[in-house]
Symmetry: C2
Subunit: 228 residues, 2 copies
């Protein structure tokens, strides 16, 4: 931030600018997000904008920061109520919450998430993963038997990204007639809950027909020992 707002009016203006930035992005998309638009929307001049934000990116960063905080609070709010449930219910509850969250704010979260690789949403995603890991850990204290807890970082990564991006793509779908939201949540719940409670193949028969390596399309060399 180029200058610190000391008087009250300027502080309000900074808030209004961040808010307006969110509105513009939600309505017009990140591509058409311009400083002039934001200034107009906030009933502020462009010059004033640049008095408090070094440039466009700084404004965007401030917005992302604010939303990041919101997300953290959301997770902390709903997590405790789910710790008593069984794994399936926990996963389903988190999924519904994620659905509601991503769809909120007039699609602002979605638009930002679509552009995850340009923004430092990388950090947000990572933080989100961490939060989920904490929930998992807290959950483990009450349901030790149900889950295998030797999760390396890979499992969390797989789950978070599978869920978030699948939801994102579903919400971006022009035609949602093929299957509805609840169906999707159920499918994801099945997949994730199964994955969580199963570190190894479940079907007794497939245990016998062990790891017969397939020839990959493009030949590759040294591969790690298969730790399942």
């Amino acid at each position: 931030m180029r200058k610190k707002p000391v008087q009250q009016r300027s502080q309000q203006m900074v808030d209004a600018l961040i808010e307006a930035a969110g509105q513009v992005i939600a309505e017009r998309g990140l591509e058409h997000f311009t400083t002039v638009q934001v200034a107009e929307r906030a009933n502020v001049s462009v010059g004033s904008l640049y008095q408090y934000f070094a440039n466009k990116d700084a404004l965007l960063a401030a917005l992302v920061d604010r939303l990041n905080r919101e997300m953290g609070e959301m997770v902390s709010r709903i997590a405790p109520s789910l710790l008593q449930a069984d794994p399936q219910t926990l996963v389903r509850g988190l999924l519904h919450a994620a659905f509601d969250f991503l769809g909120g704010r007039e699609g602002l979260y979605m638009e930002l998430l679509r552009n995850w690789y340009r923004l430092d949403i990388q950090r947000s995603l990572h933080r989100f993963e961490q939060q989920m890991l904490e929930i998992t850990r807290a959950y483990a204290l009450t349901h030790v038997a149900d889950l295998r807890l030797d999760h390396g970082p890979a499992k969390g990564f797989v789950i978070i990204n599978s869920v978030v991006f699948t939801l994102l793509r579903y919400l971006s779908l022009p035609n949602r007639a093929l299957f509805d939201r609840d169906r999707l949540v159920e499918e994801l719940t099945t997949m994730v809950a199964g994955y969580l409670s199963a570190g190894r193949p479940r079907n007794p028969r497939s245990k016998a027909a062990t790891v017969t390596r397939a020839k990959p399309g493009t030949g590759r060399s040294k591969r790690n020992p298969v730790r399942i």
Copy 2:
């Protein structure tokens, strides 16, 4: 295409332009993909570019078309060799193929996939899903017992998007030290193979503690009957 190339030299030029477009995008990213750059790279003038492509988007569309075809051929090429394997091996083989494919072309596929929502990659993704469903169907003819085949469109959607975007995000990771590629493939294999061969909860105990709905963060109303 604004004008059809009838002579041989112009046909070559069109090809060169599409090829150059891919190179520019792979090297500079879609953001810095400009018509002048493409023309220079193809040793062609900008004016000539606009003689065969109505605008920048048309050029991009032509590129996507070409890559879409490539992808289809890739899948058709590797699919037959996997039909004999067990589900785990099938999934693992497809995953490795997807990994190799996405990483190819100097990151061109990745850069395009990152921008999936701006391009009509929607169509490509959908086509990819269809292909996967065909493979699954073909696979079912030989391994009837191992899989539940009442897959609605939702299951395919979940799998495709989970896998593709998780791979995409992994490949976009600045620091890949946390876990390596093979580890990721194994995790995804576990998850997907488990999901495919299990339509309902596997743990006998969790069958008893049935669908105790969690209160979602934001209250929502009529929900569909839970078809698992």
